[in-house]
Symmetry: C2
Subunit: 410 residues, 2 copies
C-alpha cells in the first residue's frame, strides 16, 4: 500500500525549520506495510496545498499531512480540506473541551484565537490530540484516506501510535514484513558495495538491501516481504547468516540502535561506568550519550574543558605539558582521560582535543586535527585523526569516532 | 522566480536520514529572489524521479535535485537525467582527475565503483565538486535550469556559494528584497498573533510577516520586495520601527541569530566568561554554545554532573543537602552553579537539575520538573519549570530556557 506525506508550512519551505515529521511518519507506518512514495513540502498557500492533496489522493492509498493548523493567519489547511472533502467548518464541542483541559492543566487562560482551533470541517472524524490544540482529522473519499496531523513534531510523534492503530484497523493486511539492520564501520560505502555485490545480486526478488551511511558508520537494512510468514522467516534467517559471514569484523552491531545505545549496552555488559573529558567536542559526547533514556547506570558525567585553565584546574593536566606539546596532543588527551576518571570515579573515559575550526589552526595542526583518547581499566590508548568538513561535521565526526574507538576496545 | 527542490534517496523517504539539504538550498537562494514553491522527496526509483523532474520543469524556473549520485546500485539519477535531457553517459576526464586528487589527498586508492562517479551525461555542464566524488551537473531545457547536486549535506552546503554565484549570473534580476528578523520570547504564538493583528492587517501588499516558532522563542521575519530599492529601504525601516515598539520587552534580539549566539554576544559586551553545570541537560548547554565558532573567548567549560557523586566530588555539592532536598532542588542548582564557577574560574554559570524522563519521576516531581539556576557577578537566581513532551524535547526546552534566563539577567 502506498503512502504519500504532505508537509505544510512556510517555515519549512523557507528552510527556517527542518522537517522531521515525514521521517517519523514513514518509519512508523513502514511496519504496517505502507511504502512511502513521496514527501511533498508546500507553503501556507491555497493553490499549492490543493494541488498537492489532489495529486496525492490520486496516487496513494493513504495521505498524511502535517502542519498548517496553527491559529495564525498563515494557516489555511482546514479551509482547503473543506473545499476538497466537502462539508462546512463547524465548532466541535469535544475539541473545545480538549483545548480547555490542556490549558487548565498548565494554568493558562484560553484566548479566542486558540479557541478557533476547535473549528473543524464537518466532513472529518476527529481524533483528539492529547498533546496540543490542533485536532487530528480523518477524511475519506473514494476509498482513499487522508489524515491531517499537527505540525509540532512532539505532537505528531506522540499521537502517531494511536493514529497508526486506527490506520491498521482500517486497512486489511495479509502481507508480512521483516526488517533487519546491520551496523558496520571501517569501510567506505563504495568498498562495502563492492564486497557485497555478489550476495546482493543473488537476493530473492522479494528482498532488498538498503545502504544508510551516517559516517563513520554505515547501516545496512535488509527488507523482505512475503505472504507466507514461515517462508519469510526462514529465508530472512538464511540471508542474515550469510551477510554476517561476509561482513565479519566490519559488523559492530546487529539490530537498529544508535552508537550511544550500543556503547551503553556494551558498558552495561562489562559492568563498567563511563565519563568523558571534552575539549573540541564541547559536550557533544555527553549530550549524545545522555539522549539515551536510562543511561545513568553507566554514564556518570563529563568535564567540558574548553579553556586550558579548566584542563589544568578540573582535570589536573600538567601546565608545562600544555606549553610544550600544545592542547591538541597525545599527552594532553591522556591526562584529560586520567583526570576525569580521578574526578568522577568512572572506570572508563573518552577524551578529545582538537581544532573544530573555522579558526584555531596552527602550523602542523590544520582545522580537523583531533586527538582522541580512550581509557579503560585495561589501559589507555589514543589516535590522531584528520577530519574534513565544517565545524559541526568535525564535532559530529569526532564524537562518533570517540564512541567507536571506545567500542573497539571494550 | 520559482524554485523547486527534489530530494532523492530511499534513506530519506524511509525516514532513516533527515533531509537538511532542502532548507540549506532554500535559505541560500532566497536572497537571489527565488521563491521555493515545493520540496519533493522521492526514492531511488526511476518512475518517481522522472515524474518529479518532469513536473518541476513545468512549474519552476530553477530545479535543484540532491542525492541519488552515489556509487551503489541504488543510485540512478544520472540515467534518468540522460533520458530527460538527452545525450549519452560518458566518462569526464576532469571529474576523473578531481576524484583522484581527492583520494590522493587522503592517501586512499580509488576503487572502480568510485571511478564510475566520473561518468556523466554529455548533455550537462559539470561544476567540479571540490568536497566529494559526485559531480555537480547543470542542465538547460526550454529556458529552464536543472542542477543536480550531491546528497551529502556538507558537500551541498560547501558547494552552494559557487553554485549560487553561477545561478545569479545566469538569471537577471531587478527586484530587490529585504528580510528582517525579530527574536521574541515569553509569549505564545497565538497571543503574539493577536497582539500584532492590527499592524499585520495594514502591511503593504509587497510585505509579509512570517511566524517561526521554536519554543521557547518565536522568530518573526518581515519580508519585503520592490523594484525601487530606495522605496523598499524606506518602507522597511518604518515597518521595523513600528514593530519594535509593539513588541517592547518581548523582543530579545534584532537580526537572525541562535540563542547561543545572542548569549555569547551579550557576554562579550559585558566582559564576562561563562561556564555550565548540567545534570538533566547532560551537556547539551555546552554543546549548544560550542557549536558557535569563536565562543572560546567567553565560554570556558562545563561539568556534566550526571551522577550525584560527581555533583559532590567535582562541584562541591553538599551530600546532606542532596539527601534532604533531592538532586532536583533549588539548593542543589545553587551549589552546582557556585561549584562550577569555583572550579573553572568563570564569572557566570547556568545550572540545571531535573527529570528528563521517561523514568525517574518521584512523588511531587513528575517528568519535566527542572530547576534552572543562573549565577552572575551580581548574584544567583533560580526558577522551577515544568516542561512537557518527550525526553529530547525536555532537554531542548531546559537548554533554551537556561540561556533565556541568563540573557534576562545579563
Amino acid at each position: 500500500m502506498k503512502l504519500s506525506i504532505i508537509i505544510i508550512g512556510d517555515e519549512i519551505l523557507l528552510g527556517r525549520v527542518t522537517d522531521t515529521n515525514s521521517g517519523t511518519i514513514s518509519r512508523a507506518l513502514d511496519p504496517l506495510g505502507f511504502e512511502t512514495i513521496n514527501v511533498v513540502t508546500v507553503g501556507d498557500n491555497r493553490e499549492a496545498i490543493t494541488h498537492a492533496v489532489a495529486h496525492a489522493l490520486k496516487t496513494a492509498d493513504l495521505v498524511i499531512t502535517t502542519g498548517g493548523l496553527g491559529p495564525t493567519k498563515d494557516d489555511i489547511t482546514k479551509d482547503v480540506l473543506t473545499d476538497i472533502f466537502g462539508g462546512t467548518l463547524m465548532r466541535d464541542p469535544e475539541v473545545t473541551a480538549n483545548i480547555h483541559a490542556l490549558f487548565d492543566a498548565r494554568g493558562i487562560k484560553v484566548n479566542p484565537l486558540t479557541e478557533n482551533q476547535a473549528i473543524v470541517p464537518s466532513s472529518c472524524r476527529v481524533i483528539q490530540n492529547r498533546l496540543g490544540t490542533a485536532p487530528i482529522m480523518w477524511f475519506e473519499k473514494n476509498g482513499r484516506i487522508l489524515i491531517s496531523m499537527p505540525g509540532v513534531p512532539h505532537e505528531t510523534e506522540g499521537m502517531l501510535p494511536e493514529v497508526a492503530r486506527q490506520i491498521a484497523s482500517h486497512f486489511h493486511h495479509n502481507l508480512y514484513f521483516t526488517h533487519s539492520t546491520f551496523i558496520t564501520t571501517g569501510i567506505t560505502e563504495s568498498a562495502l558495495a563492492e564486497k557485497l555485490s555478489d550476495w546482493e545480486e543473488h537476493l530473492p526478488p522479494n528482498f532488498h538491501l538498503a545502504y544508510l551511511p551516517d559516517s563513520p558508520i554505515i547501516k545496512l537494512r535488509l527488507d523482505g516481504s512475503d505472504f507466507n510468514p514461515e517462508q519469510l522467516s526462514h529465508t530472512t534467517k538464511e540471508l542474515e547468516h550469510k551477510l554476517e559471514l561476509i561482513l565479519g569484523d566490519l559488523l559492530i552491531h546487529r539490530g537498529d540502535a544508535s552508537l550511544a545505545q550500543i556503547v551503553i549496552e556494551r558498558l552495561r555488559q562489562r559492568g563498567y561506568t563511563l565519563s568523558s573529558a571534552e575539549s573540541c567536542t564541547g559536550g557533544n559526547i555527553a549530550h549524545t550519550i545522555t539522549e539515551v533514556a536510562g543511561c545513568s547506570d553507566v554514564y556518570v558525567g563529563s568535564v567540558v574543558s574548553y579553556a586550558n585553565e579548566v584542563k589544568i584546574k578540573a582535570l589536573g593536566v600538567d601546565p608545562s605539558t600544555l606549553d610544550s606539546e600544545g592542547a591538541v596532543s597525545e599527552p594532553v588527551v591522556r591526562m584529560m582521560a586520567e583526570g576525569v576518571c580521578r574526578l568522577t570515579g568512572a572506570d572508563c573515559a573518552v577524551s578529545t582535543s582538537g581544532i573544530a575550526g573555522p579558526g584555531g589552526a596552527v602550523p602542523g595542526k590544520p582545522v580537523g586535527t583531533v586527538w582522541i583518547g580512550v581509557k579503560t581499566p585495561n589501559g589507555f590508548s589514543s589516535k590522531l585523526y584528520h577530519f574534513t568538513g565544517n565545524r559541526n561535521r568535525i564535532i559530529a565526526r569526532a564524537t562518533a569516532t570517540a564512541l567507536i574507538d571506545l567500542l573497539s576496545i571494550l
